[in-house]
Symmetry: C2
């Protein structure tokens, strides 16, 4: 059986990056929608058309602090010949019982307060004497300290046309309008609109839950003591952060030792909280590649096409990769190589699009652009493999950071782009136009 595992022709087929990605995207399906509080739905994709149940604003209201008037009463008013009106009271925002404004009368009105019956327009307080009888004012006195402002007389210095400073009912949205379409990603203004039309919850695809697990008996947690032959676990941290960055809720599982039974049990244990499992390490052709060992024999035994398949990809870094589904819910699992740079590049190319597909986003890929390569020495790349080099991109130019070695995690931390060298190219000179993946 292990001979079959190392000698099967499927193992020798080199998959292209594109084939592998297509296989993943053809398998991963958007998560089932759930009803969420609008603030919990931030960043999520709406799955329903949201209709407006009530017109906004729901009533004619004042756009200024001022006085609600009848147009005829202020016609021809000026500072020299003001219209003198009797203040019958205040209309504050949120006030439900309305005054009636008769001829020669006015109501003091606050921004957002409903236009009282009888009134046709609002004159801003700055166009009046505010009831003080001493020329124009810049604002009202607070009701709490000067209750007399809601009565007495006010001098109005300017006329107002019908509907002046009145926001008409329904002038923002009308009941029955479509507020937001299915497929909208909910950002702050969309959440504001939902609240404004009275929607406290909304039907969206939830954030994908991603379990990130690194494997390797050589791995020690940061702040621990390194013994001979050990290194610190960095993949579970980097990929957990990257999964969050892609929009997921990420659960980091500490490094699991190279023991197939332990690994299988740990993965099965985690499935309860996983929409996607990502492992690193143990996928190559060594005798201790336990991810491969544990998962090659864990199929969805009742289902055709289940199980995890291990592949060689025509790419550098990141040649060995595993992908498939696992467990009763056919949870997708991506098994990435263990080298930190290989796993990070693999995450960007394969896991990020999978997470964004689960989230129901249309836009699953990083933006790409063309850039002019600036380098002291030409880049070399193995023929037949798509190479991804770390680079710094700015203003249409890209410069490689670090070398092609897949272990340059320090260089990765200073890169903001991946330089793509296609399969057919073995050398790229400075000044050449190259494809660049922008790492946000």
């Amino acid at each position: 059986m292990s001979t079959a595992a190392t000698r099967a022709t499927g193992q020798d087929h080199l998959w292209s990056v594109t084939e592998h990605l297509e296989d993943i995207l053809a398998t991963v399906r958007p998560l089932d929608p759930i009803q969420l509080q609008i603030l919990d739905a931030q960043g999520c994709v709406l799955v329903e058309d949201v209709m407006v149940p009530v017109s906004l604003p729901p009533f004619d209201n004042s756009s200024m602090d001022g006085y609600a008037v009848r147009v005829a009463d202020v016609a021809g008013a000026s500072e020299e010949y003001p219209a003198v009106l009797t203040v019958v009271g205040d209309v504050a925002a949120g006030q439900s019982e309305l005054l009636h404004v008769g001829p020669g009368q006015t109501a003091r009105i606050m921004t957002g307060a409903p236009l009282p019956p009888g009134a046709e327009a609002v004159v801003p307080v700055e166009w009046t004497d505010g009831g003080l009888g001493e020329g124009p004012v810049s604002g009202m006195r607070a009701r709490s300290t000067s209750p007399e402002g809601a009565s007495g007389q006010v001098h109005v210095h300017r006329p107002a046309g019908a509907r002046a400073h009145v926001r008409a009912k329904g002038s923002d949205v009308n009941a029955g309008d479509r507020a937001l379409s299915a497929g909208t990603v909910l950002g702050p203004p969309q959440i504001g609109l939902l609240a404004a039309i009275g929607r406290g919850t909304v039907r969206v695809r939830p954030r994908p839950r991603v379990v990130v697990m690194s494997t390797g008996s050589e791995l020690v947690q940061p702040d621990g003591e390194l013994e001979n032959g050990q290194i610190y676990d960095s993949n579970s941290f980097a990929l957990c952060a990257a999964a969050r960055d892609a929009g997921a809720i990420a659960y980091r599982v500490g490094a699991v030792a190279d023991d197939a039974e332990t690994l299988r049990a740990t993965i099965e244990d985690q499935l309860i909280r996983a929409d996607l499992v990502v492992t690193t390490g143990g996928v190559s052709v060594g005798a201790y590649d336990v991810v491969k060992e544990a998962l090659s024999s864990v199929g969805d035994e009742d289902e055709a096409g289940g199980g995890i398949e291990f592949r060689k990809l025509a790419m550098q870094p990141g040649k060995p990769q595993g992908f498939g589904t696992i467990g009763p819910d056919h949870t997708p699992l991506l098994a990435l190589p263990g080298n930190p740079v290989s796993s990070y590049v693999s995450f960007e190319l394969f896991v990020r699009p999978a997470i964004r597909t689960l989230a129901g986003l249309d836009d699953v890929h990083r933006p790409t652009t063309r850039a002019t390569l600036r380098t002291d020495k030409s880049l070399t790349s193995p023929g037949g493999r798509r190479q991804f080099l770390r680079g710094r991109y700015a203003d249409g130019e890209v410069t490689p950071v670090g070398g092609a070695g897949s272990h340059l995690i320090a260089a990765l931390a200073h890169a903001n782009a991946l330089i793509v060298v296609p399969e057919s190219v073995e050398s790229v000179e400075s000044g050449t136009e190259v494809d660049v993946v922008l790492l946000g």
Copy 2:
């Protein structure tokens, strides 16, 4: 006293957008740094230079699954005339006791495992018969099922030069190198690098904690029943989401009724968890503008320059604004107008830069660009005010969405940019180049 409040000359001075923003940025200071777990520090700004305590990789190790060999033993090897070596055992990753490879000997070695003493290079398993005696193999058999692979003989089909497939100690980073500089924003690759060099915690500026509070007796929570004159609270939702989007931990406080004492008590109560307080509503010239009423008299009484100042800004929307500091810790507070679009635009212009300044980020502003205006009718703008119109930007062109009315929250939800019409301009024709703020 209330007459003074409405008639003071400070109230009549029109502040420019730039002056107000400069005043905010001159007052708000980056938060004091704290030590955080690296995954909790995602998105935060590092305040220390992080040095490498241990070289990476910490020891010479194999970059392939294969066999650790002495160069002389495999010189001239070919498939026809293989070098035949005695396998003395396995070197797995994480293994601390090392085998010694003598002349004519080899150790099976896994990717990442330390190069054993005596060996000078690694030949990949694909260049050997894997000990099976049947020509080249594509990988090793799992140790668990085929323990005999760690002994016996192996045929090597190709020579290897000194250090072939060996990653040298320190080839990624050397002890004493600077891994990351103070000021770095910690994204996934930086978190990966920190873990890789053994740093479990790091000193960063924390995410700012922002309390968002809407005010207004007319406000009803979404899913509630609207009575006459009432509207739904949307500001606390939209700005809470926007604060998170700017990198903050946001706490939403439901709408507070227009009562100065309640408001003052609520704000004082919230200060314990606030690095910044944002209120909406109650800042204009009405008789029920309780934010203004409550906060104009709440100074830092022992401190010169404390307290909240209410201003008129030469902008549309968003003319009335309050800013200052409050409480024993001089917590900054921004009091935004209550209209949903005014408050959102004010947030973008003033609160977002304040949050990002608290976080210690260099890059506090939204990106801006120039775009060609595409519109059926020319835009009009009040002279002397900087106007911000909602627009959709794409490919160097921007189209207005909705009108200039400050209550078009539905239009805001379909905008991705603000079109800036400067103070000196009263009309803009289609085809004109305009400044555009890109809303991410």
